[in-house]
Subunit: 182 residues, 2 copies
């Protein structure tokens, strides 16, 4: 008998699920980021702490990200564009789900590659045509998965990952955003 090991501690997650059933207040998380404008359309964004399980939490180290626009937008390209960060989040969220679901189903993964592309008509952000939206028109994610499983089992894992993905939900459904100036 071989043991499935995708590196996901599924038992801890199942235990957390049981605990949170009786403690909904512990399930309330707040994720945070702070951005500092540098110059032009270049900002740096820092992430370190968050709130969850009823108390302040920390990542083991701070992460800092550069966001800018590329040369074709007459900018300095000191980092990827803000809209590309969405693709980072979407593809990594779905991949994390694939690993977790596969672990829970006893399916060993060998490799999981995901390619994502988002189509966007930049006449929206440039204000050329008010009928054109600013964000992506359409996003497509393509998974290539090598695992001890049938194509049908793999498709079912990916479907379950979509069903539980925080970023997939956020992209496909509207979310309220409040913007204030202090």
């Amino acid at each position: 008998m071989t043991t499935t090991d995708n590196g996901v501690n599924v038992q801890a997650l199942l235990d957390a699920r049981e605990v949170l059933k009786g403690a909904p207040e512990a399930a309330q998380f707040t994720w945070r980021a702070t951005s500092s404008w540098q110059n032009g359309v270049h900002s740096t964004v820092k992430i370190q702490n968050f709130f969850g399980l009823g108390e302040e939490q920390n990542h083991k180290s701070a992460s800092v990200f550069d966001a800018d626009h590329p040369a074709v937008f007459a900018a300095s390209d000191n980092g990827i564009t803000p809209i590309e960060y969405l693709l980072v989040g979407l593809t990594s969220c779905l991949s994390a789900g694939v690993a977790s679901v596969a672990q829970n189903r006893g399916i060993q993964l060998r490799s999981v590659e995901a390619y994502v592309e988002g189509k966007m008509d930049i006449r929206g952000i440039l204000g050329v045509d008010s009928e054109v939206r600013n964000g992506y028109d359409d996003i497509k994610v393509t998974f290539k998965i090598d695992a001890d499983a049938s194509k049908k089992e793999i498709e079912a894992i990916v479907a379950q990952s979509q069903k539980r993905s925080a970023v997939y939900d956020l992209v496909t459904n509207p979310t309220n955003v409040t913007v204030e100036v202090t």
Copy 2:
């Protein structure tokens, strides 16, 4: 007379707007990312090229991002969580817009800080309660801007940035996502 210089080449953007009015096909961009699963819920995501202005384009260098879950999720915390990447994109997009709009209005910025927080009930992703959504319930962005302008002018700049923000649009409105397995 002083010249406003926020580092944004507004003239180039206004020129692009004029050109794209008559060339909508050049305004069709495709942004891309490729993720590779590492172990557990840790993936690395690479971004380098994109398509726009009718041809293949490249960032001046490739960017690679780590996404993982923190220790409270029984994971290795090799990077921020996927859902935190959304906050990186949202805050940097709105900040880029603030710099661009301020430049266009002749308002000199001295500093632009933005703090964003997203509230999430993790009973959704854990499957505790199907009535709880997976993504953020609510996101709040707070700007602190030092500029040669009145509070009212600054608020108007932030409002215009929201109106033209790709990421703000993506978060507040639904977007179609197709997921396939090859």
